[in-house]
Symmetry: C2
Subunit: 187 residues, 2 copies
DNA sequence: GTCTATAATTTGATAGAC
DNA sequence: GTCTATCAAATTATAGAC
């Protein structure tokens, strides 16, 4: 097993924290260098271009997220509790005054980001919707229920609105309704 | 009546176009100066600090949006058609590859923006939810229906996700469901 | 009001010593 | 790998002429 906490990973961790707070365009190589205690040229050693940093950042975030999805035992929990666990992952990504989901903020900035980064962000959404599709197909089909992409969209939007307003109200209401509407189908 | 298209308003129009595409942090005074055909120092004449520009930009956007809401004749249309018109305003704010709602992108960047700007963005959401509350109270109360803040959140999130993926799919599905769910209540 | 000129700072990025 | 040193460009912002 390779070293768990390399410099490269430390830089990515610092980048994730900063980008999830202020966005990709507002984070500099020098910010990250200071965070991990090196010079900015050393950050360039690991990520020659800022684009490389963005690419690796979203990849890491997506893999971490996927790993947490894999921990959700759908067989044991059943579809509703699994959906609740999914929504819980999003809930833990939102810390008012501190951070939102990485892909919410990168999604909003997408027109100013390199295509390579955008493709990774799109892949995050696609993996999430695919996972959701896996559990929702175990539900009775009902025309009034949100589809996977609608659920992901609603959670990301609620995160952003909650972040500006400064309370979790919008997010919590959205999260609760998504779960409740599906639970209702199984009564 | 004062001049309709002053330099100040031209700058704000250029700023709106750019910010709705790439975000506030990725737009510079020189960008706007070139757009309207002056030097950047002239832009500073109208907006001494970038914060002043952001503040005026969101105020203008909110007022324009409110004016379009005022044009929706709720009495004549009835609540469902009025809700449809509301959703239509959001729909027209999304142009794939070009722009999203100003407050979606500023909301995502909020942690890196001046408080003054954030307060204006929050006010936009509050005015929108207040308008929605006005028409939804004419509907039969139903526990399964989205509240105003949930509707606004869902539309903003769907805009961002659609923007990254590159198709209107997520937005259109969200918009259609919001209207359909309420229409269903009035059958 | 708009310009020239410029200051002060920050940014992404590179060359080369150690 | 990390550093020093540096570059070219861009950024916000101001002073003062016209």
């Amino acid at each position: 097993m390779t070293e768990r906490s390399s410099m490269r990973d430390g830089i990515l961790a610092a980048a994730e924290k900063r980008v999830r707070a202020v966005g990709f365009n507002a984070v500099s190589f020098r910010d990250l260098a200071r965070d991990v205690g090196v010079k900015s040229s050393s950050v360039h050693y690991y990520f020659p271009q800022k684009e490389d940093l963005g690419d690796a950042l979203v990849l890491r975030y997506t893999q971490d997220f996927q790993a947490r999805l894999d921990e959700i035992d759908i067989q044991t929990l059943g579809p509703v509790a699994a959906l609740e666990a999914f929504v819980g992952l999003y809930a833990s990504a939102l810390v008012i005054g501190e951070s939102v989901c990485l892909c919410a903020i990168l999604g909003a900035e997408s027109q100013s980001l390199p295509d390579r980064v955008n493709r990774r962000v799109a892949a995050f959404f696609e993996e999430n919707t695919a996972w959701l599709a896996g559990i929702l197909e175990r539900m009775p089909t009902a025309s009034g229920l949100m589809t996977p992409i609608e659920i992901v969209s609603a959670l990301e939007g609620a995160m952003i609105v909650s972040s500006v307003i400064g309370t979790r109200e919008a997010f919590d209401a959205t999260a609760a309704r998504i779960v409740a509407n599906y639970a209702e189908q199984l009564r």
